[in-house]
């Protein structure tokens, strides 16, 4: 046997971060739809991970209300079971931004710059931040992982602050609005599946840095635009929450 074969070859990984508002206003059908949609989409993401030669997909989940909590750090999606999120409290989105910044680092979740693809950061919220959001976001915007990530948000219901969510995504086109539990579930499924597919795919080989390279974020934005056009009826609904 060739002695070089004995060294373990690593499979790279891409983490899909669910960042979920679990403030009191999310209680009822909103948090119910989030829980159902994520639970139902996990097997599909697991299949994408299994069939994808480029990278394994991991799932991480942060909930933010009065406090910020990690339900789980990046974890293999295969065999994962989803424990329902429970709503209650205020909306400490600024603290969530700070905590995300802390974890998107080499000493925390992204411990291998070559081993990790850029993550997907998927934010869901139905309200206004009740703390220093701008300060938290400013810190996060200095983070390299944040800047290369696919960033997307769903505004849940009419009271969600879409401007805040657009600041997070960096592009208002990447903020979807859900007015009903059905629309919210469809959007969570679309975002999770599409971003996982794009995010976990190798973006090429030795891509150079100075010719205005199209990013995965831009590719994902095109897919979001198509989804919006094909599902215009979802957007036309009045608020059903």
């Amino acid at each position: 046997m060739n002695p070089l074969e004995a060294v373990e070859i690593a499979r790279r990984q891409m983490t899909l971060f669910f960042l979920v508002d679990t403030s009191g206003s999310m209680s009822g059908s909103k948090i119910g739809a989030v829980n159902t949609a994520i639970r139902e989409v996990l097997p599909t993401i697991s299949e994408i991970s299994e069939e994808n030669a480029d990278a394994a997909i991991k799932i991480a989940c942060m909930s933010f209300a009065t406090d910020v909590n990690w339900l789980f750090a990046p974890t293999d999606v295969e065999g994962m079971t989803w424990n329902d999120l429970v709503a209650g409290g205020t909306t400490a989105l600024g603290a969530a931004m700070k905590e995300l910044n802390r974890k998107l680092s080499r000493s925390e979740f992204m411990n291998s710059p070559t081993g990790n693809f850029a993550p997907v950061l998927f934010l869901m919220s139905d309200g206004q931040p009740t703390d220093e959001f701008q300060k938290g976001l400013a810190e996060l915007q200095e983070n390299k992982w944040f800047n290369v990530a696919i960033r997307v948000a769903i505004a849940i219901g009419d009271d969600a602050d879409k401007e805040v969510l657009a600041q997070f995504t960096g592009n208002s086109e990447l903020v979807l609005t859900a007015h009903t539990p059905e629309a919210l579930k469809a959007m969570i499924r679309f975002v999770s599946v599409t971003s996982s597919k794009i995010g976990s795919r190798s973006s090429g080989v030795g891509v150079g840095g100075n010719a205005g390279e199209e990013s995965k974020q831009a590719e994902f934005a095109e897919q979001v635009q198509e989804f919006k056009e094909e599902n215009a009826d979802l957007d036309a609904l009045t608020d059903g929450f």
Binding site: N2, P3, L4, E5, A6, V7, E8, I9, A10, R12, A53, D54, N111, S112, P113, T114, G115, F117, A118, K144, V148, S202, S203, G204, V205, G206, V207, G208, G209, N210, A211, G212, E213, E214
Partner: protein
């Protein structure tokens, strides 16, 4: 003193019919050994990066040989000055080489069709060099000196006489995810990183494109691979390069799927 190099087209390149965009070369004489690798950028807009990497390796090898033949005692040279001058000469000579390549064979319509509008605009303005974009790592070992220069991603891993690994060329934080600094950057000279050592010289020195780094993901695993490689050179010097070359298709297919180029110097 022994120098070697190996090169393998990436599994993903084979699938889509892309050429190998890496290139590598090495040379050994009584007085010195040189190893060079270059990794041409992979996206469609860098449609001549395979030529860019080949010309970068050829240029660096030639410039380093010229430098070594004219320099009796490197230890008396002012450290920073000559390394920057060498890098500047390589950038300049590479620029001339790609210019010549372009004038010998102008871009075809099929090549230009791979560019987006803003990239076409750059070509129209005469700023077409990016289509040849490539990284470059070159190392030199003499009896008393080890030095190297590097732009872009890829890594240089060395082992001392006790088998301890290190990366003597500083990392550039601007090389992150799918972005890398490049010989085609307008400020390429400021992007070069260097190493120069006259004490505690490494005894095994390896350089490789990011196809290797991405395969092993962490520095710990990367060191384990190179440790196995240096032991292969120690235990089976006659077959080591062949063993490595035979392993590369598997490394690319199971690992990064990228082109892979490795070169090195063994004392």
């Amino acid at each position: 003193m022994r120098a070697f190099h190996v090169l393998e087209i990436g599994a993903s390149h084979i699938l889509v019919g892309k050429p190998c965009q890496d290139y590598a070369a090495s040379i050994e004489t009584e007085n010195y050994a040189i190893a060079v690798v270059a990794d041409g950028h992979g996206s469609d807009c860098y449609f001549r990066s395979d030529r860019g990497s080949r010309l970068a390796v050829a240029t660096a090898l030639q410039m380093l040989q010229e430098f070594l033949s004219q320099t009796d005692n490197m230890r008396t040279l002012p450290k920073n000055d000559w390394q920057h001058q060498l890098a500047a000469s390589i950038i300049s000579r590479w620029g001339e080489a790609i210019e010549k390549d372009k004038s010998n064979e102008e871009f075809t319509e099929a090549e230009l069709s791979l560019l987006k509008e803003h990239q076409m605009q750059r070509v129209a303005e005469g700023k077409w060099q990016f289509v040849y974009g490539t990284t470059l790592i070159a190392i030199v070992r003499t009896e008393k000196v080890f030095f190297g220069m590097h732009i872009g991603d890829g890594k240089c891993v060395c082992f001392d006489s006790k088998g301890k690994p290190s990366q003597p060329i500083p990392w550039d934080d601007d090389c992150f995810q799918n972005r890398t600094t490049s010989l085609c950057d307008g400020d390429a000279l400021t992007r070069f990183r260097f190493v120069y050592q006259t004490k505690k010289l490494p005894v095994e020195m390896f350089i490789a494109s990011d196809g290797v780094d991405d395969t092993y993901a962490t520095d710990e695993r990367l060191y384990t691979f190179y440790d196995a490689l240096r032991k292969t050179f120690r235990s089976n010097p006659e077959t080591a390069v062949k063993d490595l070359q035979e392993f590369l298709p598997q490394m690319s297919a199971k690992g990064s799927k990228d082109d892979i180029s490795i070169a090195g110097i063994i004392m």
